[in-house]
Subunit: 145 residues, 2 copies
DNA sequence: CGCTAAATGCAACTAAGTTGCAAAAAAATT
DNA sequence: AATTTTTTTGCAACTTAGTTGCATTTAGCG
């Protein structure tokens, strides 16, 4: 009995011409369930049993990026955070918010973020990335640094 | 005979309560002259004679950041790019543009970039970072990837 | 089934940035 | 000016996210 999700994953891989393999299906599944950007390490942790080699994870993510299934959302603490590209337009992802205190990451979807205007003549903008930092609702009240 | 710049550097260091030392004055000078974000390595290269140890450069930049003289503008190729914080407001630097083809970095100063509106209730935004990528004027015309 | 191109695993590597500690040099004190 | 105190600096060794080369395995296909 195949779940809806796993059929969706099959279709996705097929549609971009990537072979169906264990690691690929598992990693796509993790990213779908997460709904927010994850690092290689976080992905590995969520894979539970049958963790593929970290090289495989990186290469898988790389191929997903090439196929535009996944984006490198942002880098934090020197580690890329990867996320499913299903809530992004060609020219920009939604903004990402990081809480300075607890480190939680939130995707700010559904906001109207216009591409910047008035850039000097001659520049062609392909992609815009917006990152925010501050305090999340849970940390706003707390005292201390 | 002290140059205007070196006097300005002295005053800057004094004003934030940092001791005047060779590496600090030299690094501040490099950042002032550059007018755009530089990596530790690029700074070292521009220091010419009497390059301090790279650890010193990192620690110096760190102390400048704490004193709000310098910002970590963005990370690229796994390396932080540091720049003088004199063209930034408290809540955001100017946007930075990177050319996908030649890699040149431009500061987009003087654009009206408003802080994002409509973030879910409860979040407090301290800082907004905008990064752009695309083609610079020199590369727009060229063919090929 | 058997073939071939593509994917995976392993070990060794790369490079930006960090840490601990002893030596050097500012600034403060006598 | 000499001495003491506090900060900085340099060095060597380390950390860690990500990469590379190569041998082995596997998906997809006739």
């Amino acid at each position: 009995m195949k779940s809806e999700t796993s059929k969706r994953i099959e279709r996705l891989l097929r549609s971009v011409g990537l072979r169906r393999t264990g690691p690929r299906e598992a990693i796509l599944g993790v990213l779908m369930r997460a709904g927010k950007p994850l690092t290689q390490e976080e992905i590995a942790a969520k894979l539970g049993a049958a963790i593929p080699n970290k090289v495989t994870i990186y290469r898988t993510l790389e191929s997903f990026c090439k196929a535009s299934l996944v984006h490198k959302a942002f880098m934090q603490k020197r580690a890329w955070h990867f996320e499913l590209a299903d809530r992004c337009t060609e020219s920009q992802c939604h903004p990402h918010f990081t809480c300075k205190k607890c480190g939680v990451i939130s995707c700010l979807v559904g906001l109207p973020v216009s591409i910047i205007k008035g850039v000097k003549k001659g520049f062609v903008i392909h992609r815009q990335r917006v990152q925010l930092e501050g305090l999340c609702p849970r940390c706003v009240g707390k005292k201390g640094r």
